[in-house]
């Protein structure tokens, strides 16, 4: 079979099955079974496929995925997240669009200790959007900042999908986790500036409301009591990693354990809540891990069939410059983000993209951070962006889908600007990982 036919069968077939609504894991598994039968020597290849499925998830580098998710789930199921919002609300007082800014700052704190974009969006959306709507905020101003900050969780160091990207691509996981930090924080700061300017230009978007009457210690008490201890978990994770006490993988367990201990210290952790957090964790990470089981041999089959080599030669044979090729890959990712979920994006593209990255000597961390920004964009792009659906699910009924679509537009534009910045100034992504070694 020619490499072109193999490419159509493997890449086209898996995309077709995905679009037919087959669960992602089974879409890849079905194509892998066909591919192993055709390209890996029939029955022995199929037995090898079964063996690879076992090896795929029995990997220590994947352990942060459930552990990062568990950190966030404990935070949300124990009610500590509500305390964080309250604390931030007491601190931010005289800012136009105050509650929207509170949402961004609270989301930033959550993203330091949670590896789940959906959980953050659902949590902030269910708690803050009704409050903002009740205080006269326009639905666009109430929902946009929350979806934007939720999506950015993918770029922050405690990110389950960044771990998966590192694991699948071979890019250093710790460097990837740290590499997203600067672009993520800069983008959040830009979001705040945008909200303030937008509300200054049109105060009706977020009417000023009476401030809670907290003075002195009462004002900063929740910050000291809840925000600083919760943020300290983030520093425990980074410090244990940087100081060499724990490997990056182990630091996820240390962080999860610290979260559980903190929840216990606040007497917020009951057996039921811990179980709910563990079930939530299993629901998210079990599904991601099972996709890895289903897709594990996909890149190997692509390679054996000649499709990988053929496609890479085709891409590199057009005398395109390194930057043109990277830009092309980012455009493909943004396009895919409109239709398919983030895990599928990685599984479809990485077997082709990574050989190109290696061939051109492209910095893996730089490429990986841009990959993460593209996946983050995919969460926000209408009509299928997952966070748009999440927001619709938790927002009050008066928030219509058209509001949600309009709400993300400026944040998508700002994220695209950040992608361009990282593209033209790679130091934004690679400086911090190089400093921290």
């Amino acid at each position: 079979m020619s490499w072109q036919a193999a490419s159509w069968l493997l890449l086209g077939g898996s995309t077709l099955l995905l679009l037919a609504g087959l669960p992602v894991a089974f879409s890849f598994l079905a194509i892998n079974l066909i591919g192993a039968g055709l390209f890996l020597g029939g029955s022995p290849g199929l037995v090898q496929l079964a063996r690879n499925c076992v090896d795929s998830v029995a990997s220590f580098s994947l352990t942060p995925i459930p552990l990062f998710v568990l950190m966030g789930e404990v935070l949300f199921h124990t009610g500590l997240a509500v305390k964080v919002i309250d604390a931030v609300e007491r601190l931010i007082t005289r800012v136009p669009g105050r509650l929207a800014v509170v949402a961004v700052v609270a989301g930033t704190i959550f993203s330091a200790v949670s590896g789940s974009t959906i959980a953050i969006t659902a949590m902030l959306g269910s708690l803050m959007v009704p409050l903002m709507i009740a205080r006269g905020y326009h639905p666009v101003m109430a929902t946009g900042p929350i979806m934007a900050v939720g999506a950015l969780d993918m770029l922050m160091p405690v990110s389950a999908l960044a771990v998966l990207l590192g694991s699948l691509s071979g890019i250093s996981i710790p460097k990837l986790l740290i590499g997203g930090f600067v672009p993520g924080m800069v983008l959040k700061a830009i979001f705040v500036v945008y909200i303030v300017l937008r509300v200054k230009m049109n105060p009706l978007l977020a009417p000023a409301t009476s401030l809670p009457a907290h003075r002195g210690w009462e004002r900063i008490r929740p910050l000291v009591m809840y925000v600083i201890p919760i943020l300290s978990i983030f520093f425990v994770v980074v410090a244990s990693m940087s100081a060499g006490w724990a490997t990056p993988t182990e630091s996820a367990a240390v962080g999860a354990f610290a979260t559980v201990v903190l929840a216990l210290a606040y007497r917020a952790l009951t057996r039921e809540r811990l179980l709910a957090a563990l079930r939530g964790t299993m629901s998210i990470s079990g599904m991601i891990l099972f996709i890895i089981v289903g897709a594990t041999t996909f890149s190997q089959i692509l390679s054996f069939s000649g499709a990988s080599d053929g496609l890479v030669s085709m891409i590199t044979g057009h005398n395109l410059s390194r930057d043109e090729i990277v830009a092309g890959m980012m455009l493909v990712l943004i396009f895919l983000g409109v239709f398919v979920d983030q895990v599928s994006m990685m599984l479809i593209t990485l077997p082709i993209f990574m050989p190109v990255v290696h061939k051109f000597g492209i910095d893996g961390v730089w490429f990986g951070v841009m990959f993460l920004i593209c996946m983050q964009l995919g969460l926000l792009l209408p009509p299928h962006g997952l966070l748009l659906m999440t927001m619709k699910g938790v927002a009050p009924p008066e928030v219509r889908m058209s509001h949600i679509f309009r709400a993300v537009v400026p944040y998508v534009a700002l994220s695209l600007a950040m992608l361009a910045l990282v593209f033209f100034v790679p130091a934004v992504a690679v400086w911090l990982p190089s400093v921290l070694g």
């Binding site: 220590f60 552990l67 006490w245």
Partner: protein, 175 residues
């Protein structure tokens, strides 16, 4: 039939609970390893050498234990953009196609997974890392998990036949 389905659902929930317990155990085990490696709490004990390997097996087991439960809960994500755009009845037919294909995948994985595990058992193959274990121990859970998944796919087909002629509302979000 409904009673069998409910009982099966309870089995899947119990397996998922076991996965939750294992996950918690893994977290504690890694932390104990880090603690013992950095703090001289016990004489002559510097960490748990087998902790990394045990974590790998736990991660694999957790995935296998949770997968059938996730299918019951409709939590194996998929792309439903086309299903939603199509007329409901056509979407319903596509659900049948998906279930049939998932069923074929499960049968194949049970067959080849069993073949891999049995061949390993018959040849007395060992996995030699920090721990030395018969290799079939790690291979055997795979076909069992796919058998459970396959049975759940059949129950899904029964529910599809009895339910509304429209696509299901399964999850599309992963994180």
């Amino acid at each position: 039939m409904q009673r069998i389905e409910a009982l099966y659902g309870r089995l899947l929930t119990a397996l998922a609970l076991a996965a939750c317990g294992l996950l918690f155990l893994m977290m504690i085990m890694i932390c104990v390893d880090v603690l013992l490696r950095n703090v001289a709490l016990l004489p002559h004990v510097r960490g748990l050498a087998w902790a990394d390997e045990a974590s790998e097996y736990i991660l694999y087991l957790v995935t296998m234990l949770a997968a059938p439960w996730l299918l019951r809960e409709g939590r194996h994500i998929r792309v439903d953009i086309v299903l939603r755009a199509l007329p409901a009845r056509l979407g319903w037919y596509l659900e049948w196609f998906s279930d049939a294909l998932a069923c074929v995948c499960c049968v194949a994985m049970v067959a080849y997974g069993t073949k891999a595990a049995y061949a390993s058992y018959a040849s007395h193959a060992l996995t030699i890392k920090t721990l030395v274990t018969p290799e079939w121990w790690s291979l055997a859970p795979l076909p069992v998990a796919f058998l459970l998944l396959g049975i759940e796919v059949l129950f899904r087909m029964v529910r599809l036949a009895q339910g509304e002629r429209a696509p299901r509302g399964d999850a599309v979000a992963a994180h």
